[in-house]
Symmetry: C2
Subunit: 201 residues, 2 copies
């Protein structure tokens, strides 16, 4: 960290590489992306790029971490929304996602190919869903505790379903935004979920 | 067709190529799959393979069409299930899919990368969701007509959501079958949908 702070130009270059690489992985996937092309787009030699990120897999890992930070900030997950508010927050996130198709595409392309054996994002994607499930289930459990959510709600199953709906709608929206209104379809699903689990308290 | 019938060995070879290619596209995606490797696994020279399928894109198109035929037969969609029965049929399809992870993986990997510009499966994937939406919406409309489904049901939106849930759960299940019980999670979602749209007639 000390090194970064004392070298703002190095930090700026690192961010530039992450931005360019994010776009390239979103457009080409991991296997299709080219380190040589990413370096050229950044005005760097290939060794110059590899100085910052030693392998293509390391670059992808850094891009995914970078995207997660952007999302976490957007979701304001750090203030730990509880109960039904967590669901409303997710609906707003999906609405926001309609304005950042590049980020959505990165996620869809990379998690799709991450199911293959030996893919460098396999562990990241697997861990990510476990954390999402656990965080959302915990938020919903708070709603059970404070009486706003029905106590017979299967919070972990519902969390898995909610993220599945989000991902599936992203895919359809990226392919065909005219036919698949991602934001409206997700919101109507969340409204139905809320109607079915809310106690009305 | 006449040519095929008179050359059963050619037909058998074609099926072998499709089986091998399906596995390769599922494991490597379109960009990562190698025509040379697929040919070798079939015991063919590369020109021998290209005699049957002139390009890698043509081979992928044939594999996707082959997979759709398998699915349509499995779903028995040809007898046009109507109303809530169509939803129960989909839940059984997802249960069946837990036994054919290779087919599920082909679909997840190829549709994920198909969102990228110029991908050979882009038009296939886009058209596929439109047909799925239209067929399921029509089946649900029959349920409105015969009084088993509430008339205020947005059949097209619900169809989009149901296929989104199916796809999102496939992704989580492929990554982490211990944590994501695809079949159980899909069935509980479908049960909730039925509870919310059925009139009880």
């Amino acid at each position: 960290m000390a090194e970064r702070r004392s070298r703002p130009r190095g930090e700026a270059r690192r961010e530039l590489i992450l931005d360019v690489a994010l776009k390239s992985f979103a457009e080409n996937g991991f296997h299709g992306a080219s380190i040589a092309e990413i370096a050229a787009l950044c005005g760097l030699s290939q060794p110059g790029l590899l100085h910052h990120f030693p392998t293509k897999a390391a670059l992808l890992a850094a891009v995914l971490e970078y995207r997660d930070r952007i999302d976490a900030a957007r979701l304001e997950w750090s203030d730990r929304p509880r109960g039904l508010e967590a669901l409303r927050r997710l609906a707003r996130l999906v609405e926001h996602n309609t304005h950042v198709p590049g980020l959505v595409q990165l996620f869809t392309v990379v998690t799709g190919e991450a199911v293959t054996a030996g893919h460098p994002a396999n562990a990241w994607a697997t861990a990510r869903y476990r954390v999402l499930e656990s965080d959302l289930a915990q938020a919903l459990s708070h709603g059970i505790t404070d009486g706003t959510i029905r106590p017979d709600t299967d919070t972990r199953a519902l969390a898995r379903q909610i993220f599945a709906m989000m991902d599936g709608l992203q895919l359809q929206w990226l392919l065909d935004p005219e036919s698949a209104d991602m934001s409206g379809l997700f919101r109507s699903y969340i409204d139905a979920v809320i109607a079915s689990i809310a106690t009305g308290e």
